[in-house]
Structures are given as C-alpha cells and as structure tokens.
C-alpha cells in the first residue's frame, strides 16, 4: 500500500471494496493506536523492571558508581540479615491472618446484608466508605484511636471498666503489629463484602430456597451450600488479598514506620528504608530484596491458584 493510500485509510472515507473487512487494520493504524501506550509502558514499566534485576547483582552508589557483585547481595540477605528475616516473619503473619480475616469477615458481612435487613442499601454504602479513603487518612485516624492518653480504644476500655487492659497500642512491640493489622482489615472488609454481595446475588435462587424447605440451619447452609458455590470468588479474593498484603507498605509506614523495635517491619518498608533512609546509599541491596520477594510472591500465586483450582476439578 502506498503512503497516500495508507493516509486515506486512516482519515479518508473512500476505499476499495476489498478493504471493507472491519476486523483488519493497516500497520499504520495499529501503530498509531498502540504506540503511545507501548512507549510509555516500555520506558516506565518494562525498563525499570529489567533495571531492578540488573541492580540486584550490583552495588549502586550515587553519581553513577556501579560495581558488579554477583549474588553477594542475595547471599548477605539470606544468611546474615536478621532484620530481613524479622520483616519476612511479620509480613507472613500479616498476609496469612489478615487475608483469612478479610475474606471470612467480608463473606459474613455480605451475608448480613443479603438476609434482607432494613436499610441494606444505605448500610452497604457506609460500610464501603473505608475502602475509598487513602491510607494516610485511615492511618492518621487510627493513630489517634490508638493514642494512649485520649484515644478511643483506651477510652472504651475505661468506660467498660476494663482499665487494666489499657495499652500504648502502637508503642508496644507486642501489640503494634496486631493493631496495624486490625486497621488494615477494617479498611478492606468492605471491599470483600461488595464482591461477595455481587457473587451472592448471581447464585441461583432455587438452591437456597430448597435448603430453606429442607429446614437447613443457617450454619449448615453456609458450609454446605453457600461456600462451595462461591468457591471461585473465594479463591480469587484469597489470592488478590494475599498478594496485596505481601506488598503492604503505606499503612505500616504511616502508622509506625516499622517500629517499635522492628515489630511491624515488613519487607516493603525495609526495602524503602534500605534504599532511602539508611546512609548506605546503595540501591543494589534493596533491589535484591525486591527481586527475591517478587519471585516468592509469584510462586505463591501459582501454587495457590493451582491447589485451590485443582480441588475444584476433583470435586465436580
């Protein structure tokens, strides 16, 4: 095709009948439609990922000083870095406990609204609100709620006559991780609830009606009918929620900054600290952490989807 024909193909109205197939487009058209996205994507997503992999086997100092170190970063990470292992432990606890709480809690909330309670529509809107708020807003509000002197948590305990349980919730290494986790669950429960509500209303009504006739208790109905039927949704949410929590940064950074005594340090906050807060000024080591962690997340995702989907196949 000549250049003018190509141009008329793009902007003109006249064409030969053989070009009428609307499923085909000339190369020029494709390039114009795809180029902006592919260029931005190549420069600001693909290239940075490759560069992170490159960085992970180097020591990267300011002013372009780079030194190849092979797998030394990974070696140090796995064998001598105690803070890293502490961060891995915290992140693992966070990812497992908060994921289960999120998915289970979201399902129960959805069932509450699904059982024809008054004002269900309004409640759904209110319960979803925390999902829309930024981590900064949520984090600061909960720092106040956990405040030792005038925070709501201690105020309620005192009001209930449980003054002995007053805590410096975020200041004590024993409670800090659980407190941040509570806030995180509070923020995301509404999201899981909404997804389950959508899935529940897509269920065939006859099955639930039949269970009603069989005088099936609500717990039996939940375990034997609702959960098996929602399996695909549950699997999706478990994976989604788990991956999100393996990367948790914002809320921890805002509420505790990883402290006290590394009790809330997560892998992501540690990456940030090693890159920008420690005066080692080396981007290579934190890149190695990021690469290793990405590989672990990827393995988990593949294994989780395989395992959970596999059982699907066996059952039906």
């Amino acid at each position: 095709m000549t250049a003018t024909a190509r141009l008329s193909r793009l902007f003109g109205r006249r064409r030969a009948p053989s070009e009428v197939d609307a499923r085909r487009a000339s190369l020029g058209t494709l390039v114009i439609f795809l180029a902006p996205a592919l260029l931005i994507y190549a420069a600001f997503t693909v290239y940075p990922v490759l560069r992170t992999f490159y960085n992970s086997v180097h020591t990267i100092k300011p002013r372009g000083v780079e030194e190849f170190v092979g797998l030394a970063n990974f070696d140090a990470l796995l064998h001598t870095d105690l803070v890293f292992w502490k961060a891995v432990g915290n992140t693992a606890i966070f990812a497992i406990v908060a994921t289960i709480a999120d998915v289970l809690g979201g399902l129960l909330l959805a069932l509450c609204l699904f059982s024809r309670v008054p004002f269900a529509k309004l409640l759904r809107v209110v319960w979803f609100t925390p999902v829309l708020m930024s981590y900064v807003v949520v984090g600061i509000i909960w720092v106040w709620i956990y405040d030792y002197d005038w925070g709501l948590a201690n105020a309620i305990l005192r009001w209930l006559g449980l003054g002995n349980f007053e805590q410096s919730w975020l200041g004590d290494p024993r409670t800090a991780l659980w407190s941040v986790m509570t806030t995180h669950i509070w923020k995301w429960l509404g999201f899981n609830m909404i997804i389950f509500l959508a899935a529940l209303s897509a269920l065939p009504g006859e099955v639930l009606g039949a269970a009603e006739l069989d005088n099936c208790g609500w717990f039996a109905k939940l375990v034997y009918i609702i959960i098996p039927m929602l399996r695909p949704t549950i699997v999706n949410l478990l994976v989604l929620s788990f991956v999100g929590k393996m990367m948790i940064f914002d809320l921890v950074w805002i509420m505790t900054g990883g402290g006290p005594l590394w009790s809330t340090e997560t892998v992501s906050t540690y990456v940030y600290k090693r890159a920008f807060d420690w005066n080692t000024f080396d981007l290579g080591y934190p890149s190695a952490i990021a690469v290793l962690w990405f590989a672990i997340i990827l393995v988990f995702v593949v294994v989780m989807t395989r395992l959970l989907r596999q059982r699907d196949k066996l059952e039906f």
Binding site: S26, Y41, S115, T233, I254, L283
Partner: protein, 280 residues
Amino acid sequence: MTASALSWSAHARRAPLLLFLVLYTVLTGGPFLWVAIMSVRTTPEIFASPYALPSRFHWEKFVDAWTNSNYGTYFWNSTIVVVSAVALLTIIGAMVAHCLARYRFRGNRLVRFIILSGMILPPQLLILSLFQILLDYHLYNTLSGLVIVYVAGHLAMTVYILEGFFAQIPQDLFDAARMDGYSDFEIFWRITLPIGVPAIFTTVTLNFIILWNEFLYAVVLLTEDDKRTLPLGIMHFMGSHQLDVGMVATGLMIAITPIILVYGFFSETMIKGMTAGAVR
C-alpha cells in the same frame, strides 16, 4: 398466637443481627464523622474533650489550612496530577483497548500479555529504578514525572476493564460503519467511545480514587514542599505539628471531601468500578 406476636418473636430472634448492623455502621462511619467534627474545633477544645460536639463552628480553620499551612498548594498539585493522569490513561488506554478488542493482527495476544502483565508487578520492583530513571531524565521532583509514572502503572487495569467492555460491542456495528466508509479513527471516535461511556466512566472514577490516594510513588519521587500532593502534605504536616490535632483533622477533611462528594453522587458506579477489577 397472633400474627403480631409471631413477628415480635421473629424480630427478637434477629435482635443480635440488628445490633451488629448498628455497631458495624458506627465502626465504619463513626471515625469519619469524628474527623469531620474535629476539623471545625480548635486543638485546645479537642484536648479538653476529644469526643464532644463543636460548641462553635471554626470554619476559619479551613482558610488557615489552605493559605498558611500550604494545603492550597498540595490540593492543586493533587488536582493537576490526578486530572492529567486520568485524562491520559483514559485516552491512551481506550486506544489500546479498542485496538485489542477490534482488530485481528499478528502480535495481538503478545501485546495483550505484555500490557496486562503490568497488573501483577509489585510497586517495589519498579520504584527503586524509577527513582534512578526519573533522575536521569530530569523528571525527578516534577509533577509531570509523577503523571507519567502513574499512567504507566495504571494502564494495565484500565485496558483490562475497557477491553472487556469494548469486546462486547456487536461487530455488526463496525461492519456497517466500514461499509459507510468510516475511517479507523472515525470508528474509534464515533462508535467505540460513545458506546463505551459506561466502562470509561468506571475507569475514570476508579483511577481518580486510587491516584488521589496514592502515597508510595509520590513519597519516593517528590521531595520538595511545593511539589507535594495532598497525602504527602498531610504526612509532612503531621510530622512537624504532631500535637496540633485540630489542624491535622482540617487537612484530612480537605483530602476526604472530594472523595465524599464524588462518592455521594456516584456510589453505585464507584462500587461497581472497584469490583470490576476483581470479578471475572
């Protein structure tokens, strides 16, 4: 047993459920109400009694925050970044989605795979080298740098949602348009976009919320005070005025208000948008 007695016992059985509904509503809505109340009270008033209602509405605190505490700058920075990024994402994303949904061409599946794989990349894998790259390109500490990073980071999800919708538009429409002699560009502009409005609206609201709230990229890529977006500005203010709870609450309210406004008008669309990414 009369009918009313029956329904009374039914209600009594549901009492724990209703109590839970009330409690959970207070638990989710209450904190925001509390911040709203604190935002019009002064810090001494709050410390005298943290949970009291305002005795007098101190609206002047908003003026003070806007002008003296730099929240005005933060707000405009956020607005500029979010509006440009959402506009670019919508146009560029729609072009790709249209192309992938409509045309059969060599490499279609490869392009789709490359772009959609962006959805599973953790930010930590990108952020350190993005810091270096923006320094190299002289985009570090600029709002345009942040905009480009946001566009690259959210392209995958935007294309995913739009393509799913565009692919359902009947092919007959496009065949007819071709017959009438529409060019490829006209087909995109006069058929795909107008019909795709619901999906575009979903991605716009979704991207708006996520980017308005974004923290990690902004905190790494912006350090100058007059470049900060709202979440950074609030964190900065919190860091230097830890005890001025009243003023921090006013700042939080400035950040929350646009979201509450959009949510008030479009709660259904936004809820749908947030679920669109997760449900297949």
